[in-house]
Symmetry: C2
Subunit: 418 residues, 2 copies
C-alpha cells in the first residue's frame, strides 16, 4: 500500500479521538505546541537552512525564498498566533438551531468536526503550523502536503507538533505530513474519498484548478483574487479625498496577496476629474498601469491591456484601468472577468451602494473601504484557514466554524411515523 493511503487510513482512525476531545485538552495541546516551537527553534532553523540552501542552489530567489525562510522572530510570531487560537471559542457542540417538533421529538442541529482535512499548499512553513492548529482546535485530523521546497522544515514542524499530541495522550496521527514531494502524492490524496472529508488547496490558480478538476474528495476552492475597485459617478468631496487612499492601499499595501486590488473601473462622467490624480499617485508608487484606448483620452501613454489581462490576478505592482459607461457596465465587467473574491465601490450614493452590493456576485463587497480587509482575522473571526471563492459550504474567509459540519440529534420517547 502506498504511503498516502496509509496516512489517510491512520487519519481516519484517529478522527474519532480528536472529535471527542474536550476544549481543555485541545487548548493544552495548542499551548504546548507554541512552547515546543520556541524551545525547538534552533533545530527548526537548522532544517530550514537546508531547505533554503537547496532552493538557492536550484536558482530560487526573491519572494519565494523569503516566504520559505524561518528565523527566531518568525517562529516567535507563529507561536504567538497559536496563543490567539487558544482563546477562540471551540465551535464543536455549538447548537446551530433547535426546537421541539409537534410530535414531541426534541431536535437540535449541532456543529461537529468535519473529520479529516487535507491541506495542499506552497512554500510557506507557517501554513504547516497555522493549518494544523486550526484543524485541531475544531476537532479535525489534518494531512499536510506542503511544497517540496519546505520539506525538511515541514517535517521537523510536524514532528514537534506530533510530540506534543503524544505527551498529552492523544494520537500522533491527528497531525500527519506527507513526507515526500512526489506530484503523484497529490493525485492519490484526491482519490481517497471515504478517508478524507475535504481538501483545501491553498496556492496559485494552476494548483487549485488541477485539484478542483481531478478530485473525487470534496474541495474548497480558495484564494484566487482578481479584485476590483469601482469609482462611481456620484461622489461628494469626502469621497473624492478617500479615493486615492483606498486605491493606493488596495493596490500597493501588499500586492502579492489575494485581496489586493488588480483592476480599477471608473465611471466616464467622473474620469476627467478624478482619474489623472489617482493614476499619478499609483505611478509614483511604482505601479505599472495598463488599460483600454478610452483611458488614453484621460491619461496619455498608458499601455494597452489584453483580453487575458482582465481575467488575470497579477499579484504584482500592476493594475488594469477601465472606463465604464454606467454602474451596470461596471457590475457586468466584474461578474464576467472577476474571480468572485472581493470588490469595492467608492460612492456617495445610497442607490449606487445598494445596487453594487446586491448585484456583484463576489464573496465580499465593500463600500468606501479597501479590498485588503477581506481576511478572517480582520473580520473578527479569528485566524483563517483560507478564503473560499466557491459558493458551496461557505464563501469568503473561513475560520474555525467553517471547518466543521453539522449533525442532527433528535431525542424521542417512542415516536413512529404515521
Amino acid at each position: 500500500m502506498d504511503i498516502v493511503t496509509k496516512i489517510a487510513i491512520k487519519a481516519k482512525a484517529a478522527a474519532p479521538g480528536i472529535a471527542a476531545a474536550g476544549t481543555e485538552i485541545k487548548n493544552r495541546v495548542l499551548a504546548g505546541i507554541a512552547v515546543a516551537l520556541i524551545s525547538n527553534s534552533r533545530q527548526i532553523i537548522e532544517e530550514n537552512k537546508k531547505d533554503v540552501k537547496r532552493c538557492s542552489a536550484q536558482g530560487i530567489s526573491g519572494s519565494l525564498l523569503d516566504r520559505l525562510m524561518l528565523d527566531e522572530d518568525r517562529i516567535g510570531k507563529i507561536a504567538a498566533s497559536i496563543e490567539k487560537v487558544v482563546k477562540f471559542n471551540d465551535p464543536v457542540g455549538e447548537v446551530i438551531f433547535g426546537y421541539n417538533l409537534p410530535n414531541g421529538l426534541i431536535l437540535k442541529n449541532i456543529r461537529v468536526p468535519l473529520g479529516v482535512i487535507g491541506i495542499i499548499y506552497e512554500a510557506r512553513p507557517n501554513v504547516t503550523v497555522d493549518a494544523s492548529v486550526l484543524c485541531l482546535k475544531a476537532g479535525n485530523c489534518v494531512i499536510l502536503r506542503g511544497s517540496s521546497h519546505a520539506l525538511e522544515t515541514n517535517k521537523r514542524l510536524a514532528d514537534i507538533m506530533r510530540g506534543v499530541l503524544k505527551e498529552n495522550g492523544l494520537s500522533e496521527d491527528i497531525i500527519q505530513i506527507i513526507p515526500s514531494a512526489e506530484r503523484e502524492d497529490v493525485v492519490k490524496l484526491m482519490q481517497l474519498k471515504g478517508y478524507i472529508d475535504v481538501l483545501i488547496p491553498r496556492g496559485g490558480a494552476d494548483l487549485i484548478n488541477s485539484v478542483v478538476s481531478n478530485s473525487r474528495v470534496p474541495v474548497i476552492e480558495t484564494g484566487v483574487g482578481n479584485c476590483h475597485i469601482y469609482i462611481d459617478s456620484q461622489l461628494e468631496g469626502k469621497n473624492l479625498e478617500m479615493i486615492k487612499d483606498i486605491v493606493v492601499n488596495a493596490k500597493t499595501q501588499r500586492p502579492s496577496v489575494c485581496n489586493a486590488a488588480e483592476k480599477l473601473l471608473i465611471h466616464k462622467d467622473i474620469a476627467s476629474k478624478v482619474l489623472p490624480a489617482v493614476l499619478d499617485v499609483l505611478k509614483a508608487k511604482g505601479v505599472k498601469l495598463i488599460g483600454g484606448r478610452e483611458v488614453e483620452k484621460f491619461y496619455p501613454g498608458i499601455e494597452p491591456a489584453s483580453e487575458e489581462d482582465w481575467y488575470t490576478e497579477f499579484l504584482d505592482l500592476k493594475m488594469g484601468i477601465k472606463i465604464v459607461d454606467s454602474i451596470e457596465d461596471a457590475v457586468s465587467h466584474i461578474n464576467k472577468y472577476g474571480s468572485r473574491h472581493t470588490e469595492s465601490i467608492i460612492t456617495s450614493s445610497y442607490s449606487s451602494s445598494n445596487y453594487f452590493t446586491a448585484s456583484v456576485d463576489s464573496s465580499t463587497v465593500f463600500v468606501n473601504a479597501s479590498t485588503r480587509f477581506t481576511d478572517g482575522e480582520e473580520f473578527g473571526m479569528g485566524a483563517e484557514i483560507g478564503i473560499s471563492t466557491q459558493k458551496l459550504h461557505r464563501r469568503g474567509p473561513m475560520g474555525l466554524r467553517e471547518i466543521t459540519t453539522n449533525k442532527f440529534i433528535v431525542l424521542g420517547d417512542g415516536q413512529i411515523r404515521p
Copy 2:
C-alpha cells in the same frame, strides 16, 4: 455548441434576474404554477400516458412504473405542496451574522442565492416541479435532467412553469429542462464549472457515485441510506414496549425510501429476551431476515448475510440482524458499514444515549424514535431538495436555506488597512 452548454449559458444569464426578484413576485409565480398545473392537468396526463406506454412496452413495470404515473389526484398533491412553499420564509437576504468592527466597518454576512443549480434525477415527475419551485423560491435558476422514462411528462411540466415565469415578466430560462435523454448530457453538465454552481444528483448509488467521481462542478451527495437501529442492553419496561413499534415502523412503513432502516443491531445481553419477539413481528410483516451465525442461537433458521450485505441499502422488505458485544461495537459497525445517513438507538440509559449520539458519524442520530423521521418537512424545515450524506455545505435534510450561499457586505467610510 451543444444543447447542454447553451442551456447553461442561458441559465447563467438569467441568474441575476431571479436572484434580485423580491419575495412577492416569486410567490406570485409559485402560486401561478400551482394553478397552471391544475388547469393543464389533462395535457400533462396525456404526455404522461405516452411515457407510461413507452416504458410498459420496454418491459418496465412495478414500482418504477408507479412512480412515473401521474393522475389528477397526484397533480393535485403536487400543486398543494407548492402552496406550502409559498408560505415558507424567503431565505434570501437573511442576515446570518453581523457586527461592527473596531475600525468602524459595518459587517454583515447575508444569505444569497447559489446561482444555477443542476438537478439530476430519476423517473419521478413530481421532482421536476418540487425542485424547480424550491430553487426558484431561494432565488436560483434550475437545470433539470430527469430520466428518459419521464421525458415527455417533464417537458410538458417545464413548459407550463416557463409559461408562468413569462406571464410574470421573468425570464423563462430560470427553469430549463435538458430535452434529450443522452447519457452524454450528464457528462456535459458535470464539466460546466463557471456556469453551474452546484449539481445535486438524486437517485441510486450508481448515479450518485458517477457524478461525485466525474464532476468538475461542486456536488452535493444525497440520499443513499443504509440506516441502523441499535437496541442497547439498558432497557426499562417502557423501552421494551416501544422496540417492536420502532423497528417495524422504520423497516416496513415505506421500505423503498432512504430513511428506512436496513440493519438491526442488538446487544448480546438482551438478545434472548428481546430478539425472538421482534423478529417474529418483522417476519409476519413479510420482512426477509438475514444475519450472522450468532443470530441462529437466538432465532434458528435465519439465512446468512454476506460482507457485502452489511454495506447494502436494500430498499426492500429485507433486514440484516447482528448481535454485538457492546455499544462500542455497535458504533464501530455503523461507522464502518453505514452510509452516514440516519441511525437510532433504543435505550433507557443516559450514558448510552449520549455516547451513541456523540460517536455515530451520521447526519442524523435518533434516540428512541423511528429512522423514518429524517426528512425536511418532518424536521420543520419545509419541503426538502434532498438529504445530504456528505459533510461539506450541509449534512442531513436540505431545505430552502441550504440552497443558498452567503455574502459579506461591509460598509465603510474610507477605511484602509494599516
